[in-house]
């Protein structure tokens, strides 16, 4: 597969970091602002497509990507299973418990009919398992989309089926 012109390559190099940052932000802030694992993962996935086209790089480590994909899904379903230790499937066993990772207690919010609705300016490390699941879905989507793009790229440029 051929590389593209120096203009495209330079722009890709410049755009790489901002797009990656934006995608990561969408994933990590998924529990606070619009977005989440899938949306952020799709953004980073398109970044991989841009990289692949600009540099003609098809020597991706497909095995590693597929392992990351499976691991992302396993972390997701595993987190849901861990909720069973607190009594319910998908139970948010980290949120609001003071656990250092994503377990920060919510300070602001209001109580409506006995249900606590947190306000929008909640801290980043506050949502418990939701953030963990966002990150795992994000990893899964990045790996999955990249795999698809690499397989399509391999097929388009070498004529051989590249999917594992």
């Amino acid at each position: 597969m051929e590389e593209m012109s120096p203009i495209v390559k330079t722009i890709t190099k410049i755009a790489f970091a901002p797009i990656f940052l934006f995608g990561s932000y969408i994933i990590l802030h998924g529990h606070l602002t619009p977005g989440g694992g899938f949306q952020g993962g799709a953004i980073i996935g398109t970044l991989m497509a841009l990289y692949l086209i600009a540099f003609g790089a098809v020597k991706w480590r497909k095995k590693l990507l597929s392992i990351i994909e499976s691991m992302g899904l396993l972390v997701f379903i595993g987190t849901a299973f861990l909720g069973l230790t607190s009594g319910y499937f998908f139970f948010n066993f980290i949120g609001g418990t003071g656990f250092p990772l994503f377990g920060e207690k919510l300070q602001t919010g209001e109580l409506i009919d006995g249900v606590f609705f947190p306000s929008n300016n909640a801290p980043l490390l506050s949502s418990g398992t939701i953030a963990v699941m966002n990150i795992s879905v994000g990893l899964e989507v990045i790996a999955g989309l990249t795999l698809i793009i690499v397989a399509m790229g391999l097929f388009a440029f070498t004529g051989k089926e590249g999917g594992e």
Binding site: S70, M71, L73, L74, I77, S86, Y88, F89, F90, F91
Partner: protein, 644 residues
Amino acid sequence: MSFYDSLIENAPAIIIAIPLLFAFATPLISKLSKVLRNAWAIMGVLFSGALMYVLAWEVFRDGGSVARTYVFGGAEGTSFDVLSNIRITFYVDGMAAFMGLIMATVALGAVIYSLSFVKKYTGQDKYYTLLLLMLAANFGMVFTGDIFNLFVWFEVSSVAICGLVAFRTNRGESFEGAAKYLIYSTIAGLLLLFAIGILYGQYGHLNLEYLSAAIGADGTILIVDKIVLGILITVFALKAGAVPMHMATPDAYSEAPAPITAMMVTASQAGLYAVFRTGWTLYGGNISRAAAELDLIHAVGYVLVILGLLSMFVGVTLALVQKDIKRLMAYHAISQTGYMLLGVGVGLAVYASGDNTDFSLYGRTALAGGIFHIFNHALYKGLLFLTAGAIIYKAGTRDLNKMGGLGRDMKMTALFFIIGALAIAGIPPSNGFASKFLIYESVFHFNPVIGAIAMLVSLLTLASFVKVFYAAFMGPKNSEMKTGEVPRSMLIGMSVLAGMILVFSFLPSLVLSEIVDPAVTALAGPGPEIGTNLTLFSGQGSWNALVLLGVLSIVLILGILIRSWGQKGTVPNGEGKKPYLFGNPTEVNGNPIVVPASNVYWGFVKALQKYYRPMEKMHSGLINEYVFWFVATAGMVMLALAFL
């Protein structure tokens, strides 16, 4: 709380979570070892299925009308209120447990059968992953109590099935079947999403229990309710493969690997389940029963009866002329779906007519027959698809005209095929007869013509399976075919289903009272007590398989006695050696008359030329036209509901 209690409480979620967990881990495990991966996939189905059996037992013990509610993410105690909390809920009542039971059974047979069947193919890690995903989606569709969640499972099921239909990547036809199925189910899924959007806009909730109470709450049915109802029924009937939305079904069924086809039968029954839920619970639910609402579901009952009649007749007549063994069986799957739609449609129409004596006289029997047929259909159709897979595995072709003489080596497969064929044709004493018996008797009471059509369709079903049996198992052996029986895991997979058919053939009344009645109760409310004796009562007549078995064994003994008095050995030559062909000539100008197996019923087809010609044009293979039929049906159902 004991471990068992908490297991049962969490079972609705765990039954779905186990196949998901095992599916996600399968790609990783298959990198380690193939044997481990196969064991892993079987373990996933086995654990999930075992838990499903336990849960179903618990639900049936309560009588079926008590739903076990599971709230994802947890709720405080039992005082969970759907109005103040927006959470995904699962409801498992008698009907859902009944469907789950079927899915678990067929999946177990299919996954064991897969071990040998897909051995020679690449991409087995994806195969098992998708198989487990499909199982999870099947369970999800029947358990969910949230209509958006229902859409999600609908899509998961479609995507998994599409991937599995295209499993044999060396065949172009596989991709064609998969693409048709994908386009069809995507358009259906988007229409479903549209309908859900309307419901959410109107009522602000997605919970089925809440929606059921909110629709028609003040005695009037809004026009949006009717539009949504029309869309929901058509979309789910498409998933079930009802005519005229069946066009992509034969392509997908015949191209999928045999065990997947068996599981696709249960996936389409999940669509059927959603049709019934829409009619009985979402719109006709346990509510005020206002006059406007009763009129609406009365019309729904008639829509289901019409769809059922069309599916039965078109399915079986098109099956009769097929030469591809799996396509033939796929058309039979459509035809049998018609029986379920008919039985439940009659039940719904009678239920909504407001005449309680009619309902207890034959409406409830029709409903029970339709639901009982779901159970029987999954078992015998699953078995038949597995035997078709075994035939193709050995014969190397799916063309009936090129097969022959397989019965000489594949005695077990032939036996399983006979069991399945007798059951699908409704020949006593099979389990298929028990459920069809209930449908015939009650539908005849509803409308004698429909009852007669139901019997005619059974007759044609028998005719086409005689054709398959003759073409595949009888006659001289084709020397190009491989010899010997299929591998052991395929035989075990088939015997799981065949054994269940045999057991339930002789105990139909037990199945009816212990498994089917809770499902009927979940839909139509509690009915009269059904005794646990061995005779099946339809309200008009009764049926006891054991009596017939006794008579048959007496006849068999007499036959053996008479045979023993006769001349020993076969007649070596002379007139006795020639086949008896009713005095018809067997030769023309010295050449033997040969009719290809696929064209055995040429007389029938020629007589019905005026019917077959337009049918041939309708099944053009163009997905655009198929989508037109689907959208047109949706529009017609909507119009019919709006103006009736």
